[in-house]
């Protein structure tokens, strides 16, 4: 074997080694990066920062992040109007039908009968002056009250806005 052949063989082995290392690194990178991309999308969809997914590279920290994400707040759910109390507020009530007079507005004009209230409001007296006679007005047509303002999760019992499909407490499907 002359020196040139030996050098060539060594070069070939070196090339193979280098190639193997490059392939290994590539696979490693892909395996590390792919889940990060997926978690980035998932975390962003919950309404949190997708950058939190970068923490998933760190061992143990990734577990903490997972539990935090799984059990923590999802602003996106609040924005979907499924969690009461969030911003923006839950979907408004259906608009009133035409001709609907909200009760208590406009204020009823004071009636002519004005009892002297001072007579009745002695500290010892629990007497309530009779309310002045009022002409009966039929109550305005009831706008369907915001159909059953809330329902309850059959699984965990959380109170939910009507029409919810999924429980914000346990995540279960409603109905």
């Amino acid at each position: 074997m002359n020196p040139e052949d030996a050098a060539g063989a060594l070069g070939a082995v070196g090339g193979l080694l280098a190639g193997g290392i490059v392939v290994f690194l590539l696979i490693f990178l892909v395996m590390a990066i792919l889940p990060i991309i997926a978690y980035w999308k998932i975390f962003a969809k919950t309404g949190n920062s997708g950058a939190i997914a970068l923490l998933m590279i760190i061992p143990l920290v990734n577990l903490i992040v997972l539990y935090w994400m799984a059990l923590g707040d999802w602003p996106a759910l609040r924005q979907a109007g499924l969690t009461p109390g969030g911003y923006p507020p839950p979907a408004p009530y259906p608009p009133p039908q035409p001709g609907y007079q909200p009760q208590g507005y406009p204020p009823t004009p004071p009636s002519a009968f004005q009892p002297d209230m001072s007579k009745f409001q002695t500290p010892q007296s629990h007497f309530q002056p009779p309310s002045p006679p009022q002409q009966y007005t039929p109550p305005p047509p009831q706008v369907a009250p915001p159909a059953a303002a809330s329902i309850f999760c059959g699984n965990c019992g959380s109170k939910l806005p009507a029409g919810s499909q999924f429980c914000t407490g346990c995540g279960g499907r409603i109905g």
Binding site: A38, L66, A70, L77
Partner: protein, 72 residues
């Protein structure tokens, strides 16, 4: 030595199951909160499939977010 080896071997699957449960649980919760079945998280046990499931989960239209506000 004869007793020690089987004992250690018994512990291995237990460790495996515990670690699996610890990892699967948060995913189960997330799938549920997104509006999917939590059982989908069991697919994350399988190699390769887990990446596919994660990507599908990340890019799909979550039923829970298809709330009253967005269409429907």
């Amino acid at each position: 030595m004869e007793d020690a080896a089987p004992f250690a071997l018994l512990l291995l699957p237990i460790f495996y199951i515990v670690i699996l449960a610890v990892v699967i649980f948060p995913h189960w919760k997330m799938f549920q909160r997104a509006g999917y079945s939590g059982a989908l998280s069991l697919l994350l046990i399988l190699p390769i499939i887990n990446i596919i499931v994660l990507f599908w989960f990340g890019f799909s239209d979550w039923p829970a977010l298809r709330g009253r506000r967005g269409g429907m």
